[in-house]
Each structure stands twice: as C-alpha cells, then as structure tokens.
Symmetry: C2
Subunit: 582 residues, 2 copies
C-alpha cells in the first residue's frame, strides 16, 4: 500500500506515530513561516504541516510547488494541533511531513472541488470524474451502495434468491420503446434491451424459484424528460404462492428496513389507500402525504346560486391552506396565474378568505352570502386565518389541477420537508386506461396484471371500471415502486391480450413462450419493482436522481464525458448488414 | 400465503399439526388402497397420503385425477410415516390430506423433471423454465446466489464501494467486437454495450473512490465457441494507492473467503508462478496444478546420437506418467494419435517405458542405449513403473502440444478431481503479443496495462520481451480472473497507444476522456476482473457454465425459448433511420 493510514483515520491517540498518507491536495495555506496542506481522500481530510526552519528547505520548496488536486504521498509524524478543528474527525492532529513524493501532477480543474462548486451542469457532466470527487456526489453514491447492501440483506433474510436475467432479449411492441441491438450473426434480426425482466421473473416462478429478486439495469428509449435516464436500475422482485397481502407486508418490511438501517429512522407501518380515494382526496395516484390539506368537494353546496362556472361544473373542489387568509391580492393572483398555466390548464381560481377577525371574503361574494360561505368553511373544517382555494370543472381534470395547487401550497407552507418521510400504499388501480391517441385501452400496469375476479364481468361492458390487483408504493408524493398479482393461467392471459387489441398471432409471436409456460403448471404469483435511482434520491433528500448515478446521461441521452452515442466504422455497419438512411 | 409450511419443512416434531402446503406434483404412486403423492417446491418434497375408506371419496377421485407437474394446494394433518425415508429431510412424516385445491393443471412436460432427465439439450433450452425445475439446475443457481452474496460480503468488509457503471457506452475498436445500439435521437450514431467497465472503473479511481467493485454484465459479439455466452458476468474490481502485492493479497483473500464460506473448504495460500515458468513447466499460462507431472526438458541429453527428430529440435521435453509403464502398444498408439490430431499438431510421440522389472523400453532404442535412457529417467525422477512421454520441435509449439498431453494423462490417471481445488497466481505476463493477422503487436491484457518499469527500454527494440504488471488467477487449469496495475499518467498511456498502432487522432477519439482525466490528478491504481459464470461452474464442479446461467443462449447466440434475436417492425427501423442490406 502506498499509505499506512487513510486521510480520515488519525486521531489524538496516534500522536508521535510515523505515518504514510496518500491523497489529493485539497488546499494550501502558505503563511510564509508555515505551510499547511489539506490532504484529501475518500475517507477524509488530514492537515499536513511544513515549517520554515524546521522542514528541510528542498522539501518545503517542493511542497510550495504543489497545486490543487496534485496526487501526493507523504511520510511524517503525527503531532497535536495547536488550533484544533472540531468540524473534521482528524481535527485534533496534523502530520509534520518529512518526505514528499509527487505521485501525479494535476492541471487546474475546470471547477472547484468543493461542496458548493462554481461549475455549471454541462461542465460537471463533461468532467464527471472530477465532479465525483466532491463530497455531496460521493456521499450520494455511498448512500446508494448502502441502500443496495441493505436491500440485499433484507431480501436474503426473507429467502429470496438473486437471479440474473438476460440483457439481450426480444423486442415487444407493448409499452415504451425498446433499445435494440442488431445481430451480426443473424442479419436483419435484433435483440432488445429489457424495459424490465417481467416475463423472465414470471418464468422463474413457473420454475419454482418461489422468491426472486435482482437489482438490475433496465432500459427505455423514451423521449427524455428532465430527470429521466435511458438506463435505470430497479429492485425487481417476484413471489409465488402468495396473495396481495403477503406482497404488501413483505415490501413494507423492505422499506421499513431501509429507513431503519440506512437512515436510522423508524417509520410507522405504511397506510393503505385505494386508487379511487387517492384521486378523490389528493387528485393524484401518488399523493404527498407528508401533509394533509385533503380535497373537500362542495359541488352540491354551490348549486342554485347563479354562479355560472360552478353551476355548470361536474365538480367543485378545494383545499384549505392553514394561516393563509391574509394573502395579498398579488399573492392570490400568482396562484391564479399558476393554475391557469397551460401545463395545468384551470380556467380560474376561486378563493375564500376566512379572515383572522372571523369575517369571510371571497372572489364569489356576488353569488354567495356570508352564510353560504360559512357553510363551505365548515365543510372544510376551516378556522379563522385559513384560505380556501376552489377549482371547478370536469371531475378528473379538476382534481389533477387541484393536485398541482395543493403541492405548491404545501411547498410554500414548508410542509414538504425533505427530511420527513411519509410512505403510502395505493391499491386497486384500474386495470386498463384509455389512450386517446390509439383509441383503445392499454394496460395501466402491464398486460400480465390480473383483474380483480369480481370485476371481470365488466371487461366487455365497462372496461375502464375493472380494477386490478395492482399496487404502488408512494413516498413523499413520488411513486417509488409498483407491482401486481399476475395472471397465471393461459385462458385469462389470452383474454387480456384480446382486450388489449392483440391479435392471436401477435400475442403468440410476442408472448407465446409465456402463455405456453402457463400450461405446464404455473403457480399463483405476483411481484413488485422499485425504481432504485429514485428511491436513493428520496432517501438522500434530493430532487434529482442524477447525483445518485455515477455516470448519468444528459437530457438528450448523451454521455458528454465519453461522447456517446457516436458513429461507428463502415466495417462495423457492413458486418451488421446495416445502412443508415440519410 | 397459500401455505403454512414449505415442502421442505415438516419434521417428526410436527406430527398432529394442521398444515397447508402448495407445490408441484412430482409423482403419484397408486397402490389401489393407498395413493401417495410427492409434493415438490424449491425447499423440498413432502409426501401426501390418501387412503381408500379413510379419505373422502370425492377427494380421493380428485387426487387420482392429478398429473405430473400439476400445481396444487392441500390441507391436512402431519402424521408419522410407517416406512420412513432417510434420503429426504421430511422423510419421517407424511401429510394426511383433508382438502385439495388444484391451483393450476399442467400438460405433460416434454421431458422428465428429474435429476437425470430424458430431455436433450435443445429441448431443455426451449423449455428452460421446466429445466430450471430440476434439482441440479436450481442448485447451480442457488450456488451462484451464494457466491454473489459472499463476494459482496468480503468486498464490503474490505471497504470496497459497489458502483454501477453505464451499459450504454461507446464503441472501441480495440479487442473483441462490440454489440452496438442505434440511437433514435441521434440518427447514424450508436451506443455500444461494454465488454468490461474498464475505463469507468479507472475513472472512479481518478475520482478518489479508492476501492470499487461491481458484479456486472458484460458483452462480447464474438463468434461463439462452445461454452461462451454473448453476455456474461464479471466480478469487477479496482483499487487505488496500491502495489501489485496488495492486489494479490486482497483477491487471494476473496478466493479463500469464497472457498471457506461457500464450500466449507480451507484452501492453502495461493502459490505464485511467473508466466515464463508456467510456460516452461506446464506449456500453459493456466496450468492445472491439481497434479504435478511437470515438464522436464532433456534437449541437450538427446543430441549427438543421430536421431534426426531430436537432433534438429529446438526443444525435447516430456512428462512422466506414474504407473503407466505397462501401457499396451494400443494405448500408446492412442496417445500418439491424440497428439497428432490437427488441433494439437505434433509430428509424433516418443515413449520411454521404465518397466516394473527395472528394464527400459523405448520407441528410440535404436538411437539411445539403456544407459542413455537411464540418464533421461533420472532427469525425470522416474521410478520403475513410470512412462515417459516426449515431444520435440519448436519451443512454444511443442510446449503447447505437451500441455494437451499432460492434461489428457491427468484425466486418465484420475488426477483432475472436480472436488479438489488448486488455485494459482500467474504473474509477469508479456505486455504485448504479436498478431499474425494484423502483423502488429496487440496488448495481451488491454491497452491500459502498465509495463514493468525495468522493461520499458525494450519497447522499441524487443517489444515481445516487455513484461507487464499483469496477473491471472487460475483454478484447476482455468483462468478465473485477471488484471493489472494500470498506467496512470498521460505520457506513458500515449506511448502505449503509439506502440499499439493507434494514431494520435484515433487514441484521442476513443480514449481522449481517459487521457485527459490522467492530467487532473490520477492516483496509481490497478484491479482485476473475475469471470463470475466460470468461477461458479468451477465451484459447482461442472464443465459447462450453462447451468450456472438462468437463461443462457445457445451456441448460435440465440435464445430459443423466447426466440431472440428476431425481426423488428418497419416502424422501429424507420425511427432508427436504419435499412437492412439484403
């Protein structure tokens, strides 16, 4: 080893020891008579000291020649510091250097290697290997490592077997777009990269593996939105001979284990909410339950008073924001502008200020009396000092709009604390959802999700009302995982494919092996997959997943550090029998 | 749960308990008055009993209707068996069934689900999900899981951080062929799948991650040989601020930990052998050291006796096979045929039988006296009863031929016991190897391997003699891992690229980011990668890696179960701007 200790290791009890350290020059402070260098490695920072008169002149000169991020090896004696630093673990000591070996020089980095760097996003992506030297980024990846360790520890303890499924699989038209890989041996044919190991994990259940998991890379060639990556990691799990209840308990166990062992937090048992209720109370299938501010519907209270907007509305629904009754006109206008943004699409916003003096002021005073508004306020359980914000219109659209407003108000009121965690199971998702573009129903989860037996009779008449044995786990308003009890028999699976608009031939071509497998003794089974990148970012209290991925791609799907994707040689194209359309 | 116990769990102490079991019908034995069913799951087999007169008639009829591999759930009482089976853990008890629920029927499988199946390779691959039900295959994958667990446990204990590196990277012309992935957003550009995370793990060292590991899928689009897979898994590791000695100690530690914790075997500390010595003593850089039978060179002893073959030979070298002196003419002819096979390419084989009566008989008696042959035998340390087998010719070719013969003799003498394990470090590999096809030197390991400093002066004059700081771990004659101390400075790396025939432009285009990274403070570093599939197969005592991979591809790179690769839609091709050359 080019060191006897790491830079995070020496303590006051090590004083007088000889030590060899290796690391990076974090900073130099040259006071003329004394030169200090902060030496950094993954484990910490240790201060080195060189003194005019005491340190050999050549050594001192060599130390003075060092620049930031030089890689050096030093030998010396551990001494007690005169002025201690209680911010770092090695702050009681410093190392009096007797030998300095420059292992590698360094050009000045294009941005500072500090917690708050001066580097912009693009620059940090291009020099990702330097960005990774910064504490916050390294700590994010260390958190990820710990999350993976603890995930495996828990699942191992529950008798799950880790099985690697293939990466070179087959393209399926359902769902998002696949990345494909041309075959050199079979010209004109392609492998596809998996969007998830879904069919393989189901086959493992047919094989009797009973409990499977994998922390696995998956791929989606989607038009990238902010904070989406073309390759991402899932904690992928499947269990046989279980009911939905078993899955919920097992994976509630996982999440609680992770909070306990990674964050040291005991979270309470995870509450459950039906999809319908989540939509009704939060306008979202992934409500942020760190704060209440539940929706209150007052449609019937608003009728018959000649306010045309409410009169014609399918739904009048609102939230009550604690302590916001004294919002200024300008503040309320801002909220109105917010909900009228095209991404949100509300026509307007009605407010009811339940002022601290007990009076009520509203934007619909012309139509509703103080008594009317009092009744509303009671329905909201509002108190003097609260501000009721109301939206109206078509049910689903209005709920979605109000969800955005609720989240904004939660943010403004400081109710979305990154260090507070609230997990929730959302259950009983619809099986199918209507797609306006293709004018047909698509599987909301995926085509292998089982319908609730009691709803199957609705498949032909009211397909949109059929509920699935499907569940999502939501933490702090983000879906971190989802799954379902699967179909495990061929007739039901065939019926589902028919309802999803597959011809028998298409279904056979794409999933024939799975349907055939169901005929050789498939057990009841179900599973779940967690988005690992996102889960890590939530545990890390971050909005973006980017710093929880060592080498992420930018929003154009490009790795700007290695400059990929890139052209390949004509020889490679020829071997693959491919031509590029100009 | 659809069970209260697994099929491997019930014991004599559970007698009289009510139990619910779920699993597969392994076999039925119908004796008329009594019907037994072996119920199987991942955890074991439990015997079910149905008795004429005691079991309800409808239940008995239903049980009689079951076929092999039906999935059933039963309720019943645990009773002591009359005739116990000490071959299975549940052999003391059986379950008297009171309720039977057929969870799923099963068609008759195309091959038997038994340890020794009647299914051929292709059939088992097509129905891999059924093959995976067989004990030996499931146990191989369970072994793999345990290997992964223990690998992580050891590396975690050594402060390694698991970091995921990207799968969508950049194509590089050096080495084997890349699989490529066309970009839909950037037409005409491609990602490549990694042959290894080599450059990324080196960048992580530049980033200060200090110790990295990953159990990671890698990809090579090579013409498939038997037992090669286009996707394979590596234990990939890298360390900073280390010397070769530290790497050897750390990963000897890993292998010993695995033997101890997976197999319960204490292997001795791993011996080290230089590449030159391995070639001289075994004719191979991956010698099987489970047995001795080292090469003995007698070139100079054979000269001057007018035997033309030896007279003109650069090398005369042989092995002594214990107790084989009485081989018949036919047996020796077989060995001669073996070495003359075109794949081996020897011209002939000379034998010296040191007979049990002390006399010596040889195929070159005409040229060499008994005294001459005695001297040879002494050199071989041969005893009466031994058979000396000699090959002659050009040094390197002859050694390779004799290696094959040595392995054959080891096999014949039962010296290659799959339950015996012999690990070895092979050190000081050549840096470069001559490629007859391209007429230039290629990196033997990869272009980032550092030359031994004392050999750098030979790079221009005798490039083939430059040794590298490179090492392989060999177990039982199979290379299971290899690595090197890397170049960590730009000038040396540039020089290497030049010697490997890269133009400056090519080097910059392919590895510019790495060379640039070396200018920002790269620490000395090195690493190793183990072939995980192969390592598992050796621990499992198997010749093939196939059953240590859940869903392998066949020798044409095809997954015959899902039928991949396959054609994709014209729409997909259009989106990727690709045409297929007819």
């Amino acid at each position: 080893m080019l060191r006897t200790h790491t830079c995070g290791e020496l303590r006051i009890s090590d004083v007088n020891k000889q030590t060899t350290l290796s690391g990076w020059v974090q900073r130099l402070r040259d006071k003329g008579s004394v030169l200090w260098i902060d030496l950094r490695d993954r484990y910490g920072i240790t201060q080195l000291i060189f003194e005019e008169g005491k340190t050999e002149a050549a050594l001192l000169a060599s130390a003075r020649s060092l620049g930031r991020e030089y890689v050096i090896q030093v030998e010396g004696t551990v001494v007690e510091r005169l002025s201690k630093n209680d911010k770092i673990a090695t702050g009681d000591i410093e190392v009096k250097v007797t030998k300095l070996n420059i292992l590698n020089a360094a050009k000045l980095p294009p941005f500072t290697i500090e917690d708050d760097t001066d580097g912009g996003d693009e620059l940090r992506m291009k020099y990702r290997y330097l960005d990774l030297r910064r504490n916050p980024v390294r700590e994010s990846l260390q958190l990820r490592h710990k999350m993976a360790q603890q995930t495996r520890a828990y699942l191992d303890s529950q008798n799950f077997i880790e099985v690697e499924t293939p990466v070179l699989i087959k393209s399926t038209p359902e769902g998002a777009r696949d990345f494909v890989v041309p075959s050199r041996i079979h010209h004109g044919e392609f492998y596809a990269l998996p969007q998830s190991p879904q069919t393989f994990k189901q086959l493992l259940m047919v094989s009797g593996f009973d409990r499977y998991y994998q922390i696995v890379k998956c791929f989606r060639d989607e038009d990238l939105r902010a904070d989406r990556q073309p390759e991402f990691t899932q904690i992928d799990c499947e269990m046989a001979f279980i009911t939905q209840e078993d899955i919920l308990n097992t994976f509630e166990g996982l999440i609680r284990h992770l909070f306990k062992n990674v964050k040291g937090i005991d979270i309470p048992s995870v509450p459950r909410m039906k999809y319908d209720e989540a939509m009704r109370l939060y306008g979202s299938d992934k409500p942020d339950t760190r704060f209440e501010m539940k929706f209150v519907e007052i449609t019937e209270l608003t009728k018959g008073k000649n306010f045309p907007v409410f009169e014609s509305a399918e739904l009048v629904v609102g939230i009550s924001a604690k302590g916001c009754s004294e919002y200024t006109r300008k503040q309320i206008d801002e909220l109105t502008e917010f909900v009228k943004r095209p991404q949100i699409g509300a026509k307007g916003l009605v407010y009811v200020q339940y002022r601290t003096d007990g009076s009520i002021k509203s934007s619909v005073d012309k139509f509703y009396s103080q008594d009317d508004l009092k009744v509303w306020a009671e329905r909201f359980n509002a108190q003097p000092g609260d501000l009721i914000l109301l939206l109206a219109g078509e049910k689903n659209a209005t709920r979605k709009q109000l969800n955005e407003l609720r989240l904004l108000m939660g943010e403004r009121l400081g109710l979305r604390d990154k260090n507070k965690f609230s997990a929730l199971w959302v259950l009983d998702f619809p099986l199918l959802e209507w797609n306006e573009e293709t004018k047909r129903y698509h599987a909301m989860h995926h085509p292998f999700t089982s319908p609730k037996p009691e709803d199957i009779h609705l498949l032909d008449t009211k397909p949109g009302e059929v509920r699935a044995n499907a569940y999502d786990m939501v933490i702090n308003g983000t879906e971190v995982g989802g799954g379902s009890i699967r179909i495990h028999d061929r007739p039901t699976q065939s019926m589902m494919f028919t309802h999803l608009g597959f011809t028998e031939e298409e279904a056979k071509k794409q999933f024939g092996f799975l349907m055939e497998a169901f005929e050789y003794g498939a057990p009841p089974h179900g599973g779940i997959a967690f988005g690992f990148d996102r889960l890590c970012s939530i545990f890390g209290g971050a909005d973006s997943i980017r710093d929880f991925i060592a080498f992420p791609k930018n929003n154009a799907g490009r790795d700007v550090m290695i400059d990929s994707p890139s052209t390949i040689s004509q020889e490679q194209l020829n071997e693959l029998a491919l031509l590029i359309k100009k």
